[in-house]
């Protein structure tokens, strides 16, 4: 069977990112029908998805559905619960904390996604060079941050980011860039601290994703552009970057999924999200309402709100992806 495997690999680049034209063709075809393999018996599909559906229904969905149910209650797990209709949602939409949490979540998301993506693309561009010595060492080291627990790493970073005696403030002070910056009380500084932890953890992974995508770009494109006298920057700008569109979309989506669930880092910094809730994220807001204030119905309403945000983002993403693939074909 490995024969099939090998035969197949010769025809296809290893990475799913293919030059624009091919992928655009393929995706537009796929978007039309989303077909399965016709000659395979579709009934196997039911058998294949049954374990997943059952397990997911019991352990994934049921608890969440139960939460949807309790979002219509003033729900006290230890006492009486009263049906309150949409009161929780009404209160929630008028709760300034919600909008603070939205602001913080998106600010942290932006601060952790975009600089990270730029750095990852830059790093991938450096690592792409086949003449680079020790490249497999560098690639491997990049993934090391992924193995640590968020809690341990938050303790380390909060030491490094200490206002009065943290090393980072020592360095900033020495470089004349700032004096005793408060990476907890400041709104943007606290977001920077959290974004740094996220970036530190995920940049290696994203670099490898971009690297894989760059390695799939046919060399001829570079060679011809180099014959045309393009500078390195121009090559990067006009050859490499356009080929990364799909990857950028992917990294953005995964970053958004993670970004909406940022929880442990801010919680470890200060469980209430800071004195002016400057780093209260949506998920931390939900957690605190449920487990600190014991307002489960209200917390469930926050969960549903988050779902709506997810839906909106998905819709936006759908439109953008479609636009990109349309651009590709036209």
């Amino acid at each position: 069977m490995s024969l099939v495997n090998e035969r197949e690999r010769k025809n296809k680049p290893l990475s799913p990112w293919k030059p624009k034209k091919i992928s655009a063709n393929r995706s537009s075809k796929k978007a039309a029908a989303f077909p399965g393999v016709k000659s395979l018996n579709g009934r196997w599909g039911y058998i294949c998805v049954t374990p997943f559906v059952v397990m997911f229904a019991v352990f994934g969905l049921a608890p969440v559905l139960y939460s949807v149910y309790i979002s219509f209650f003033k729900w006290d797990p230890l006492g009486a619960s009263t049906f309150v209709g949409v009161r929780n949602f009404n209160l929630l939409l008028h709760d300034s904390d919600l909008w603070l949490a939205v602001r913080n979540t998106f600010s942290i998301w932006a601060l952790s996604t975009f600089p990270q993506m730029l750095m990852a693309i830059g790093l991938a561009n450096v690592l792409r060079n086949t003449r680079l010595r020790g490249k497999s060492f560098f690639r491997t080291i990049l993934l090391v941050p992924n193995i640590t627990s968020v809690i341990a790493i938050t303790i380390v970073f909060s030491q490094l980011f200490g206002r009065d005696f943290g090393i980072i403030n020592d360095i900033l002070g020495w470089a004349g860039l700032g004096h005793h910056i408060d990476f907890i009380e400041g709104v943007i500084p606290s977001h920077i601290q959290i974004a740094t932890m996220i970036t530190w953890r995920w940049i290696g992974y994203n670099t490898l994703i971009f690297l894989a995508s760059m390695l799939a770009i046919p060399n001829e494109l570079f060679e011809s552009s180099s014959v045309d006298g393009a500078t390195k920057w121009q090559q990067f700008r006009f050859v490499t970057l356009p080929q990364l569109k799909n990857t950028i979309t992917f990294v953005l989506i995964v970053g958004t999924i993670g970004g909406l669930q940022v929880f442990a880092e801010p919680q470890q910094l200060a469980a209430d999200g800071g004195s002016s809730k400057q780093f209260l994220t949506l998920t931390l807001f939900l957690y605190n309402q449920a487990f600190v204030n014991n307002k489960y119905g209200y917390a469930a309403a926050i969960g549903i709100f988050i779902t709506f945000i997810v839906l909106i983002i998905s819709a936006v993403n759908f439109v953008i992806t479609r636009k990109i693939s349309n651009d590709g074909t036209s």
Partner: protein, 285 residues
């Protein structure tokens, strides 16, 4: 990748010195927090609480390690074993179940497929914290409180794993290949085990390893489910090191370092494979 590295290196691919400097800095930044853990764990609290703090390891690591290992309620060996059992069970189950379901979603034509996958994607982004109390009641009714099953069973399948494998199978395995095989008379299970699984092996490994890491570092759920010290996983065991209020940084970092060391060792062996897997299985957006 073989096809790429075999190529003659074109002239435009010279490596400037500054790139090596940049990469070395990245290496240092990647490793520094681990190094810092060790520095904190091997110095006295007073040493760490100086300004500027000591940046070189002290001689106390074994004292601290001993304190960690003999602390009340910390059965490090059994915690290590428990964590391995939980991590590997979850990783293996997730890979297998996700591959099977992902295969069906990607390649098999059955009614309701499209709706189901959209639903899966939709629920993927919901914060799991939302369902903790109902989930706990469920797990309690299944008599899995204070057992490793209580950690393993709810995590056997994740929507993310299924979605991921679906994308991988969709991207890496062309329909024509499977069509050819089925015309040759191969049954669906045979096609899955003989063609699909070998091709997505690398990506499955990545999914498994990330599931393993997540299980290794999970804290919130284990601390609710596990009750007796003999059943603790590493992260729950580390909580036993905390003093009444605040933190004993030396002790805590010593524990964190000891809990991370097995992963670092594991990483030495599988790191390169992981790199290949991540690059190989990178999913299209």
């Amino acid at each position: 990748m073989a096809t790429i590295t075999k190529q003659k290196t074109p002239r435009w691919r010279k490596v400037p010195k500054r790139n090596y400097i940049l990469l070395s800095m990245i290496v240092i930044l990647s490793i520094f927090p681990f190094y810092w853990m060790f520095v904190v764990a091997s110095n006295t609290n007073a040493e760490i609480s100086k300004s500027p703090p000591s940046l070189i390891p002290g001689g106390r690591f074994f004292i601290v390690a001993h304190k960690v290992l003999s602390a009340q309620g910390v059965y490090f060996n059994s915690a290590l074993l428990n964590t391995f059992i939980v991590g590997i069970s979850i990783a293996v189950a997730q890979v297998i179940f996700s591959a099977i379901a992902g295969f069906a979603f990607a390649k098999l034509d059955f009614k309701g497929r499209k709706g189901l996958i959209l639903f899966v994607v939709g629920t993927m982004m919901l914060p799991s914290q939302l369902g903790i109390i109902p989930l706990f009641m469920l797990v309690k009714n299944l008599h899995m409180i204070d057992t490793l099953y209580g950690l393993i069973v709810p995590a056997l399948i994740t929507a993310f794993g299924v979605f991921w494998m679906r994308q991988i199978i969709d991207a890496q395995i062309p329909n024509e290949l499977l069509e050819a095989a089925s015309i040759d008379g191969a049954s669906v299970p045979r096609i899955f085990f003989r063609i699909v699984l070998p091709i997505v092996r690398q990506s499955g490994f990545v999914l498994g390893l990330f599931a393993f890491l997540a299980a290794w570092n999970d804290y919130l759920w284990p601390t609710i489910v596990l009750q007796s010290p003999k059943h603790f996983t590493l992260q729950v065991a580390l909580t036993q090191l905390k003093p009444m209020y605040g933190l004993d940084y030396g002790l805590q970092m010593g524990g964190a370092f000891l809990a991370t060391a097995p992963l670092l060792i594991l990483f030495i062996f599988v790191g390169r494979k992981l790199v290949t897997g991540v690059m190989d299985g990178a999913v299209k957006g």
